[in-house]
Symmetry: C3
Subunit: 233 residues, 3 copies
């Protein structure tokens, strides 16, 4: 039947390995955002202080895990023990900041590349949110609020981490506060965390894979439209 076909698509989607294409897309978008944040605040920090630049890039790339572990009383530095991920993120960081002629930066921040990376990022965001809800449920099996908070934090980690990075860099730019002025991504992540928690409590009669597929498609569609809009207003 039709529904069975959709389910089989959803299951196929659910088994796509994140590594390496989606992971790399995530690192590219995160470190691009760090570079953009640098230009607003301290200029040329990448030249004068590569260590801080690298550290902020890693904090952004692994923000979700760092913050979730902090909130759950687990080692904050856990992300730094995964050398393969850190290594790939370091290569991406190097290419974005120091590639001769800014070739890599211009390539990945071009419109067609963004059109590719932004949906990829939403794929990995759904995995991260679902993983966060599962991580919280492993510690508090009935703690639906904890699941909701950890899911949201895993989905929007780099935004929450932005102010901490600015503090570490000593930049006094305009602070972004996702609680008082939530972005679309923040609102979406809260809603998706809520849907995943409801599905977990058997209050949504759909398989998790299908739910994640629908959420991903919705987020990616909206984000691509926003990208189009900001380009041709």
């Amino acid at each position: 039947t039709n529904y069975d076909t959709i389910i089989s698509y959803a299951n196929a989607y659910d088994t796509i390995p994140m590594f390496p294409v989606f992971e790399v897309s995530h690192y590219i978008l995160m470190i691009l955002a760090v570079r953009q944040d640098f230009q607003e605040g301290t200029k040329h920090l990448a030249q004068t202080n590569p260590l801080v630049c690298w550290f902020c890039s890693m904090l952004s790339s692994f923000a979700g895990g760092i913050l979730a572990n902090f909130l759950l009383g687990q080692p904050i530095l856990a992300a730094f023990s995964n050398h393969i991920n850190i290594g790939i993120a370091t290569i991406v960081w190097y290419l974005i900041f120091y590639c001769p002629g800014d070739v890599f930066f211009n390539l990945v921040s071009s419109f067609p590349a963004q059109l590719l990376f932004i949906p990829f990022k939403e794929v990995i965001r759904m995995r991260k949110i679902a993983g966060g809800v599962a991580q919280a449920a492993a510690i508090y099996p009935s703690g639906f609020l904890v699941m909701l908070i950890i899911g949201t934090v895993k989905g929007t980690g780099s935004m929450q981490m932005r102010n901490i990075e600015r503090l570490l860099r000593g930049t006094s730019g305009p602070s972004s506060n996702q609680l008082t002025t939530p972005s679309f991504t923040m609102k979406g992540s809260i809603l998706i965390s809520l849907l995943i928690v409801l599905q977990r409590y058997m209050m949504l009669p759909v398989p998790l894979s299908l739910l994640l597929l629908c959420c991903m498609l919705t987020m990616a569609t909206v984000k691509v439209f926003v990208l189009y809009g900001s380009r041709d207003p």
Copy 2:
């Protein structure tokens, strides 16, 4: 004898369940303080951003547990897994901020209601301090400084949390610093933590229940007198 009668009163006091009357008094006073802090800083945040308003109210209501867990390397979000407490605090939050005609707010912030809630709050504060000392003793059986710090933090959680809440709200009001300018409650909580630790080390020859009763009566008396004084100077 006379002493036996007092001990029996103290033991009776020690077995009063905190739930629900004392818990509710605690939530009412904590969330009233959040509303008061809002009016000094950002106005009407409750209308424009109910989510932040709710989050700050929960942080204040469960501040002691959150900070104690942070200092002891335990999950910070543990308080959010207790749905009954969160549910009751949410109802109190709703009534204080959104009750039509501010009926509930005017009722609970009236003088007679305060006269009732303030002693109730001291009852629950003693329980929280004693619980904090016991929690620290379970991890560091001979760590009397750790017991002292955790006891104080559990007794004055919401005051320590105030600055964190303001940061989350993006308010740049005058920061309150309980370390440099300790309030009466802060000083009292340090002293009571010290007494409980001394009792634990068998250096005070009274049962814990009697000690808590005396401390509670002293704190409540002083606070009620302060309330009278601020009303009719």
Copy 3:
């Protein structure tokens, strides 16, 4: 042979107990730095608020352990459960701030005393860095970045803690940022952590005790020269 003699010296160095001479030197230097930091910001805080003064002194003295435990999800207050260390640090704190005629302060901040304490401090710093690397390795046996970060944090704890202390004191002095403007000690600690990690991975063919001895001698020599230089420019 000659190398064997050096190794035997290194092993003898490695078994020197830190307690009490080196520990006390560490506390003296840390609490002197707190007093110096006070004079730049809030004056006479030691007189008006001894509790904050004591708390900042303890945070500085045990900064490495506090921050390392924070980053590894272990109890932040662990240092406060070691009463002998806290007791000795408290005696040093009392003598530095409240000794009549500032006799102790003038004594320990004199040039000959500094000439003694600064090398002693480097001895204990090497132990702390090696201990930090081992602590991280116990949790993440192959997490070389985690070892590097924890080693650096253990070696430079009090510098990282400075801004937190200023926040607790409510001082708004010039913030020191070891990430953007690293001191010589910071750079040295990163390098030494790296060397210890490399030795651990069998990539440096020297015993750990010899490596620590060489690093200590280098750091102490440079620091003593800097001390001479700042005195007679």
